[in-house]
Assembly symmetry: C2
Homo-oligomer: 280 residues x 2
């Protein structure tokens, strides 16, 4: 039976219409109330304080790489990863109704989105103006009623602000996906198709990373991602973030983590959650 | 005998007075002509075209993590890493001469620098205005002769633009270091105190990362960093960037890389260079 998330509150970073909000609505089947937040930290805080049931956070993009700040915040929170979602990022050129493509002189969006649409924008011969986020640039166009201007954002943000899509799918590389984590105080039970995320600090002796990965290899546990992040205050020492298949309550995983601990100064389970499919 | 770099041209990203320029002058003992570039790509291009002898690029910061864009550019270039330098980042509050600390209302700088000085700025009760880079914000204050305004940047940038330092060392965390790579067409010979950087793509079979790291472990080669970056166009597949001790012309390293290749779809040596000390 599908879970019922009706009336649940879901926090996300960005303006209404942001890709993170789209991820939230896809994950929860539109049954939830979304709450926009100014920063990723605010998303964590709202869920930690019980003012939201869930938080949705981008964790990596297939073109740009990992969102380091969210990895750092996961290290500190007592929330667990409840789910993951992979969203196809499709950028649209958006303007006020009645504005035509050949009258556009200025294009506003997040610097990353401008970069991802470079080839399309080159042909337009327009001025590029970096803005703090994508959906926010659509909202700004709407509020200021700017003529000869367009924004780059999601299809949904055009609908939300009642604006016109001049062109859809303007990104250079179509293999543009963002992976999101859903965090919560609640934990997700075993589904036999799970992934687990952990973070650890290795003891200072040669070959410890090799030994740590060896435990997984010997037990035939498939690693899906490894990420190193600097430890704040310890220049050029790193925490390792590892994703692997299985649930932390599975018998074999319990044993593996017990052995891994012996090679670590610190180990934290960030959560176990059903594996995502790529969403189109 | 120390090398003589006189009249060599060194490209860096940012405005005159940037931390990257400081790194260049420290590495080459002030004997060189520095060339400011708008983007990291421009730095690579200038050296590739022979218009500069060297390029200086930030590769990781001890608080913020890796500079993913430069890892991606290293993958594509035919330049080699010629050296590394670790620079202590010390932020200063800078204003026009005669402007007093208690008259400051607006503070301009790169968003990252504003974040790193948060505790100091909270006490000042000022408005924070993000700017595209640190030294550029000092230049802008100078050009526009803004009153009641200050910028956050390096001590050197205050000297360069003939401005006044209101307060030095305003960063919250003093363990703030940036590691730079110096890239060139030239290669650096063996010094017996070297590091090597490589990038590789593993074959798709279980445990390949474990096996790859095992080769280093068995041969007692010390790994100093591992970094994964998404492969553009292959969502959620990764290239691994590895730093280890030794020179790629050392007999043992030649053998290790030969074995490693058998586990890889792709392997590239980014360069071998003398290990950096932390510079204060």
């Amino acid at each position: 039976m599908a879970e019922n998330y009706k009336k649940n509150k879901v926090a996300f970073q960005g303006e209404i219409g942001a890709y993170s909000e789209e991820a939230a609505l896809k994950f929860f089947n539109k049954d939830v109330k979304t709450i926009p937040c100014a920063t990723f930290e605010d998303v964590f805080r709202l869920v930690e304080k019980g003012k939201a049931n869930y938080g949705v956070l981008p964790i990596e993009n297939s073109l740009e790489g990992s969102v380091g700040q969210n990895y750092d915040l996961l290290l500190k929170t007592n929330l667990k990863i409840f789910g993951e979602l992979i969203l196809r990022v499709e950028h649209c050129l958006i303007a006020e109704k009645g504005v035509k493509l050949d009258s556009i002189k200025d294009v506003y969006s997040h610097l990353q989105a401008l970069g991802q649409c470079q080839e399309f924008l080159k042909k337009l011969n327009v001025r590029l103006i970096p803005f703090y986020n994508t959906a926010g640039s659509v909202k700004m166009l709407k509020t200021k009623k700017l003529k000869n201007s367009a924004a780059i954002a999601s299809e949904r943000s055009a609908r939300v602000y009642n604006m016109n899509i001049l062109k859809k799918g303007i990104e250079t590389n179509k293999k543009n996906f963002t992976r999101f984590f859903i965090v919560s105080k609640k934990e997700k039970g075993q589904t036999k198709n799970d992934k687990t995320s952990i973070v650890f600090t290795l003891k200072h002796s040669p070959g410890t990373l090799y030994k740590a990965l060896g435990i997984f290899s010997i037990c035939d546990i498939n690693l899906t991602k490894i990420e190193s992040r600097p430890i704040i205050g310890k220049p050029f020492e790193y925490n390792f973030y590892l994703d692997f298949e299985g649930h932390y309550k599975d018998k074999i995983i319990i044993e593996v983590l017990e052995i891994l601990k012996q090679n670590c100064l610190f180990l934290k389970i960030l959560g176990s959650y059903p594996k995502a499919k790529i969403e189109f």
